[in-house]
Amino acid sequence: MTAEADADTASLRREIARARRRGWMRFLKRLFSHRSFQVGFALFSVIVLLALFADLVAPYDPNRNDYRNLLAPPSMLHPFGTDGFGRDIFSRVIHGTRISLGIGISVVVMTGLFGVVLGMLAGYVRWLDNALMRLMDGLMAFPGVLLAIALAAALGPSALNAVIALTITFTPRTARIVRSSVLVIRELPYVEAALAVGAGHARIIVRYILANALSPLIVQLTFVFAVSILAEAILSFLGVGPPPPAPSLGNIIAEGRSYLQDASWIAFFPGMAIAAAVLGLNLMGDGLRDVTDPRLASQRGAG
């Protein structure tokens, strides 16, 4: 009797797992047949690969000086030219992209973590909601990247502090998105059903609420990734990001600023690298949003 019941549960489990896999495959298939996602994914993959294998791809040491080749324009030897110290811009841009992507992904992970925890608390624990959301509103009242600039300036210029400053800046909006998903989902019949059959809070939060709040969160985090790359460039351009000689993309642009007249390639190429990475992420985000939100998908690439 119990053996039979166990066998039943086991086969049911297998069935559920299979259905879940099928759902995933269908989702991925739809995602990868979305044109802007395809383009964005291809573009971003190339950039990630270049950054991952920076040491192999970069033809020179990004900090090596070559005093016979100062301010050399782009050529076969130096595809993006050289700077005032004779450093190879191409190598610096590739290493800089690695720094930007590293900071970007760290901000995404931290923002995701804090956004989920704070959003869940606000959405699930009634008495915390008001206080937490007023705090988030207050943080969002600082216009644009200004808060990140001031925080990074106070903490001191480093990659870690840039991550902290950007996480504090981008967490409020993410927490708000998680909270609004939670508020909708917690009223749905299946949550009530789960409560009725005796599921605990932890189980409800993870298996029922978080699992279903995931898609707007992932879309948001894709855009957080894009915006962090832009914001990190601003921080290092202003001298409150990872300090030189680290070849962060913003640092290279800041150095190129003094040579705009004679060697505009120094500032030009790192900017293009930022634009390419951000464009790839934006395209992927657009695709993800269209595929996960059927209401928007009907508008065909809207908003």
């Binding site: 007023r134 705090l135 509103d137 207050g138 943080l139 009242a141 600082f142 216009p143 644009g144 990247v145 200004l146 808060l147 600039i149 001031a150 925080l151 300036a153 106070a154 903490l155 001191g156 894009a226 832009l230 460039a233 601003i234 351009f237 202003l238 001298g239 409150v240 642009i253 190129g256 600023r257 705009l260 007249q261 505009s264 500032a267 030009f268 790192p270 900017g271 930022i274 634009a275 951000v278 464009l279 934006n282 395209l283 508008q299 065909r300 690439g301 809207a302 908003g303």
Partner: protein, 315 residues
């Protein structure tokens, strides 16, 4: 309307409280001895003690906060270390430059963005649609300060049409002012132009599918009249709602653009203060810019409530 205004002002209070607390905390999070940071590494202990006392850093945190709030309520944000003048005065003096830069950028972003969005919507599915949307996406993806540098290279260095930077007050010469503001405002506008273009296109396409548009067309009204008189008017409502958010992004972005184009705004004041570790200026600049943004948002809400009566009766 009065009730709506009162509710809106009240809801701004907790926001301002958080804003002021964060601004206060900025000095507290400076790692190590803040007075050594200010006075420099080769300062004597006596110099540091003097700064500590002048800033009230020798008092307990709660007392510091109370004193800070006491003075804040009187509009006193302390003294700048290096400018030797009150922070409030220094920041307020530079606020008009920042506000006019952000305002001009807002006008450019909305005008260009709406134009691109309409173009894309009425030529839906053609190369014009794709072209405008690619342009919008590109605008969204490039760093605005870098775009500013590119504009300098093209329009100032190569063509010599506009100055590379510097500021001419409008009171001195209106042409000079326009010349000094064109490139910075354009650089600042590019990202938000992309946002507006995408929103306009989406909401135009949605509105153009509505019944009343089909009715207007069916009764024989010309296409362009329907597009501009019926569709565009309704399609622009969502744009008004994001003006507040856009103003914030532009105010924040102005900080960087000002230092690219050497404009004497709040942003450049803050950046200069960061380099010289003039923390009261950073603190005050942050606070006043955020308060301005809160105030602008209230104005936008009022405008929106005036345009759409449903909003002001809603909670």
């Amino acid at each position: 309307m009065i009730g709506f205004l009162a509710r809106r002002l009240l809801s701004a209070l907790p926001v301002l409280l958080v804003v002021s607390l964060v601004s206060f905390v900025i000095i507290a999070i400076v790692p190590g001895d803040v007075t050594a940071e200010i006075a420099g590494a080769d300062s004597t202990e006596a110099q540091r003690a003097e700064i500590r006392e002048r800033l009230g850093l020798d008092k307990p945190m709660v007392e510091q906060a109370l004193r800070w709030y006491g003075r804040l309520l009187q509009g006193d944000l302390g003294q700048s270390y290096l400018l030797n003048r009150p922070v409030t005065e220094a920041v307020l003096e530079r606020l008009p430059v920042t506000l006019s830069l952000a305002g001009l950028a807002l006008v450019m972003a909305v005008a260009l963005g709406v134009l691109l969005g309409i173009l894309a919507a009425i030529r839906h599915g053609t190369w014009l649609d794709q072209g405008s949307m690619s342009l919008a996406l590109f605008g969204l993806s490039i760093p605005d300060f870098w775009f500013g540098l590119i504009l300098i290279v093209v329009f100032s260095v190569q063509l010599g049409w506009l100055p590379t930077g510097g500021y001419v007050p409008a009171s001195e010469s209106i042409v000079g002012w326009a010349r000094s503001m064109t490139l910075p405002a354009l650089a600042l506008a590019i990202t938000q132009m992309g946002v507006v273009a995408r929103m306009t296109r989406a909401s135009m396409l949605e509105v153009m599918g509505e019944d009343y548009i089909r009715t207007a067309r069916a009764k024989g009204m010309r296409r362009h009249v329907v597009i501009f008189k019926h569709a565009l008017r309704n399609a622009l409502i969502p744009i008004v709602t994001v003006v507040g958010v856009m103003t914030g992004v532009l105010l924040g972005g102005a900080v960087v653009i000002e230092s690219v184009f050497s404009l004497p705004g709040v942003g450049r004041l803050i950046i200069g203060a960061i380099q010289r570790r003039d923390y009261p200026i950073i603190q005050g600049g942050l606070l006043i810019t955020a308060a301005t943004f809160v105030f602008v948002n209230i104005l936008v809400d009022l405008a929106y409530g005036w345009l759409d009566p449903r909003v002001r009766n809603d909670g």
